[in-house]
Symmetry: C2
Subunit: 638 residues, 2 copies
């Protein structure tokens, strides 16, 4: 179902075929084996029952703030972290402070996400991974996680000095229980223990996996570092920074590199200082590696606590119980993150920035007001996941133009045609549910045309409310455009194949760089037929116009919207010409990236673009120059 208020012409039923003229890492799984733990006192579900009282350790005091650290870099890991965080938030009953060590990409994504998510009782701090690189870049490393994996080693020196305890998580973790139960295991540390870890569920560190396999030294089967309880205070006191560096340097005299990044070094240090480690029950890190024998752990447990997708195959790992584990993961992958915007019972907490004013404004709305739905939708802050998929911004060029548009699920099939017609950068906002975002991901992965494009940035704005927030979507896409100019288009339009080149040339020729107060108008056409061949030139376009197979855009419904473009003059024109703003004019334009934003109060259908053109004109940006006539764009749907 379309959000109500979406223009009918965008509805799935009414096909509008339109013409435009001129106008490191990522999967954080770990390639590790796994081993049976049967009979091993270090692990097994028995150990999850530390007292005689019951199966649960004592929870931490109600409302105690729990600290969680995660290293995250790149687009794909950012998506993984969000699924992890959703699982954590679903079960949590305590306030959380997330400490995120991120590269610039992950920071942009996650900062925007948490800012717009507005989850009560969640604080987020960012730490710049690039600044930490020199501390670990000297370590030769064969693990896919590159330098980022190693950064877990420097957390005691990176996190605030007053922070005494933290849970450290890999990005490929899914919670199936309340993280407070894990935090409660800190209480079982002896006075000297500083690192809580689950045994590695593979024979990797036994060194017998294959001939000449020389793993790093470890205590028995070693430990897996996907889930770590760190007593930062004790590590700092024990001189951790020197400790791990000494061990690593010494081992690297005989070993060429780390194979499993930080995990090799943690294990080597623990072998030397076994008093540091507190073994944790195996259910707190059920490792689904390729040949895992974790079954001996979880088959005895009545309860899964944490699933660790540490196979390179991730969800496609072969395991007779994988469906069960996968269902936990899919639950949170597709879970509506908006539902996690809920407070905690009886834990007073500072509401997220802006949330309180919003609540008050919402509370003041009158439900009997005929505009109630519109006012409510205007006040909605949508959760936003920018650059949802891997994205390589094009090299900076002075006259480059990004196509900016927005869409929902029913327009996905426009993307391939759009990619064929517009070879330049695009910034597209998609209005989706969490489950639809996963369908979108699969759609792109299955399309060679889309998968080949690294210069298209997709920004997911999560659905909430009955009305389509068209201008909020436009603003998200506009804010993420990286070129000096933007072409403000709509998803139902297909540009001429030559439009991208023509626009860049025109911007240069018209000297728009110096006379910034101009917008280029891209004339728009439409056809009422659903089978249609895209006219390759202006001559063909004019022939189709004359034959009645094409119309100027909205010719029947709203000719005033494009009348000032002066199509009659455009037919004959050999060069761009100026036009003046007139009320109701709503052309498609190319403007500098720093143009005024759209008014986000327009939701649903109507006037949303007109108002923007008024604003452009009022700011004297609207010296309008219709497109050079010998360039032509037309729509084609197959």
């Amino acid at each position: 179902m379309l959000p109500r208020g979406r223009p009918r012409a965008l509805g799935a039923a009414a096909l509008l075929l339109l013409l435009l003229l001129l106008g490191f890492l990522l999967f954080d799984w770990r390639l590790r084996g796994a081993a049976a733990l049967d009979g091993d006192p270090l692990a097994g579900p028995r150990d999850s029952n530390p007292s005689d009282c019951g199966p649960q350790p004592l929870p931490p005091p109600k409302c105690e703030l729990l600290h969680v650290a995660i290293v995250c870099a790149g687009h794909n890991s950012s998506r993984d972290v969000i699924t992890l965080v959703k699982s954590m938030l679903f079960y949590r009953k305590n306030p959380l402070h997330l400490h995120l060590v991120t590269d610039a990409v992950a920071r942009n994504i996650l900062e925007t996400l948490f800012h717009t998510w507005m989850v009560p009782a969640v604080r987020v701090s960012f730490y710049d991974a690039d600044e930490l690189k020199p501390q670990v870049s000297w370590i030769p490393n064969k693990h896919y996680s590159g330098l980022y994996g190693l950064m877990k080693l420097v957390l005691p020196g990176t996190l605030p000095a007053e922070l005494a305890r933290v849970i450290v998580l890999d990005t490929d973790i899914t919670f199936a229980s309340d993280i407070a139960e894990l935090w409660a295991l800190f209480a079982h540390f002896s006075d000297t223990q500083a690192i809580g870890l689950v045994e590695n569920q593979s024979d990797w560190y036994l060194g017998n996996l294959w001939k000449n396999h020389r793993p790093w030294p470890a205590l028995g089967r070693g430990f897996n570092t996907g889930v770590i309880l760190l007593r930062l205070d004790r590590l700092r006191q024990a001189g951790w920074e020197q400790m791990w560096r000494l061990t690593a340097r010494r081992e690297l005299l005989t070993l060429p590199a780390t194979s499993l990044a930080d995990q090799d070094i943690f294990n080597a240090v623990i072998k030397e200082h076994p008093g540091l480690v507190r073994p944790l029950p195996c259910v707190w890190n059920v490792q689904l590696s390729d040949h895992t024998l974790a079954e001996r752990c979880y088959s005895e447990a009545s309860d899964l606590k944490v699933i660790h997708w540490n196979s390179p195959k991730k969800l496609r790992v072969k395991n007779k119980h994988v469906k069960l584990f996968r269902n936990f993961y899919l639950t949170f992958l597709e879970y509506d993150g908006n539902l996690l915007r809920r407070g905690l019972f009886g834990c007073p907490s500072q509401p997220p920035s802006g949330a309180e004013q919003l609540q008050q404004a919402l509370a003041q709305l009158d439900e009997e007001d005929p505009c109630f739905e519109f006012r409510q939708q205007q006040l909605t802050v949508h959760r936003v996941h920018v650059t949802f998929l891997p994205h390589e911004p094009p090299p900076s060029q002075p006259h480059d133009v990004t196509l900016v548009a927005q869409l929902s699920m029913d327009r996905l099939q426009m993307l391939e045609a759009l990619c064929r017609h517009w070879p330049g950068p695009m910034s597209l906002a998609l209005y989706l549910t969490d489950a639809e975002a996963q369908q979108f991901l699969r759609f792109v992965e299955a399309s060679p045309v889309l998968a080949a494009r690294q210069d298209v940035a997709y920004h997911v704005v999560y659905r909430e409310g009955p009305l389509y927030p068209v201008n909020q979507l436009r603003n998200v896409a506009l804010a993420q455009a990286l070129t000096p100019y933007v072409f403000l288009s709509d998803i139902d339009f297909l540009p001429a194949y030559s439009l991208y080149d023509y626009l860049r040339a025109s911007i240069e020729q018209l000297g728009l760089g110096s006379r910034r107060k101009a917008a280029l108008v891209v004339p728009a056409f439409e056809t009422l037929h659903y089978r249609f061949s895209f006219p390759p030139s202006k001559v063909e376009l004019l022939a189709l116009l004359d034959a009645g197979a094409l119309y100027t855009f909205r010719y029947h419904e709203w000719p005033r919207g494009h009348a000032p473009t002066d199509y009659a003059r455009w037919r004959e024109a050999q060069a761009p010409y100026g036009v003046q703003w007139v009320a109701n004019y709503e052309p498609y334009v190319v403007v500098p990236r720093d143009c005024p934003r759209y008014d986000p109060r327009f939701v649903g259908f109507g006037w949303n673009k007109v108002a923007h053109i008024v604003e452009l004109d009022a700011q004297e940006l609207a010296d309008l120059w219709p497109a050079h006539p010998h360039h032509l764009a037309a729509a084609h749907l197959d």
Copy 2:
């Protein structure tokens, strides 16, 4: 995104406007207040901590079978029960046996649902509510739940004699925790206690809500019966059947009727026999009635256990924490029920009927086989929720015809037009996710045209897999048709306004009742324009055909599909005429309801209907009679 393999013509982009020519072819909330429980020893979160060991009561033995009884009648309560069951299954770790007391409507829905859901370690037994009516129909009752609410009183005599314990739930309950924790509270019963209940969170039974308010007698604030722990064995031993009847009869000498159904009678009995009741912690039945003071319960709790939507306003109840509670409910309302098809850890259980063979067949598929996706989709058993919305079957008539079709979300907007064109009964299968099913529900509620129709049965088939299971959907819709004849149509077709009447008259005139081996062919047309006026008669249709504004259906792509209809003869014909089956013929037909089913192995696009016509012909059902010429149908989209 459309499931791959769906015909492109059905895609959201390509609008296919089609014409058919006639010829031949077809809240269980409770209105209760709520009160503060502060300082009341009966309730409060303190009581959820029955031992000194921790906040959780001891869980029942691993893998113990837990029994749950629910009374459910009608379409809306059936939807509620499914959401309740989803929340229960999400958190449960034990095998469950559901005892469902149902009317015929709920039984048809829930039996089909559980049969196709195939959740491991869940057994379901049905008990006929109609048979129980005489036991409670003598009680005058003002509660909306009618007789059904009262049936909780007769469970001790209705459930199997060997069943000793059961948890009884209202349909408007949402679990936020593992039901085993609730079951564990049986262990806290004294030797004589037989009924575990949470105090009523309102002042209703104090009798001071308004002037002349005369509630039934109760102990203090009384108890709420939305969640009951019943020791059936002890109740039977104590002579429960006589006990409650005696009490009810005596009270009804002075009170005109029960106001809150079974709850009034339970409270009156408990007032007389206070030793029977075991008070339960308030978090096990947080009652969100209109003026609930339940906050004093849940604000002290660290953990919500069970939410009870016992306001007539349900989710729209005013409460400053309602958003938080609503999010729990919405979580399960929209939760993908397929994800609950997961086994239990370490509890061996009989797999659901058919599940084992399916698993084996799936395991034998070769992932490298180019047809792997098709074979996998063919083996998928889709969860089915028949008559998702309230439905009144039309009175039985000997020549009545049900329109049968299937659709997914992108075709919802066809429904209103279809309802305008076809005034008779319809049976429609919808291929949706759980979340989309809720969008569909809101769509129908918001449409006066759809909301007014009680003779349209909607059957939700839940999405799973990448290919559109077109024939499985058709079979679901066909199986639920209740008239002697069915018109096997497609959702993109709009019938002539007169087609329904014409078909019924023709079935009678042609004596199809006696010569059953005939199918009526309804000639089909299409237009390539997206703006189009539906031709009101055959004359206008022929004019449009001659003008090239209309074509016979699939004239360009696949003329063979409809060639045997012999449109040239049809143009001139004044009466139905016989046609013979020819390979590739795929007309739209009217046939008896007990016609052969579609072959469910056809998934995605292609040959699915052709194969069915072959089957009709092979079974000699296919004496084909194209429609009488002066009746006409055409499509119109606005």
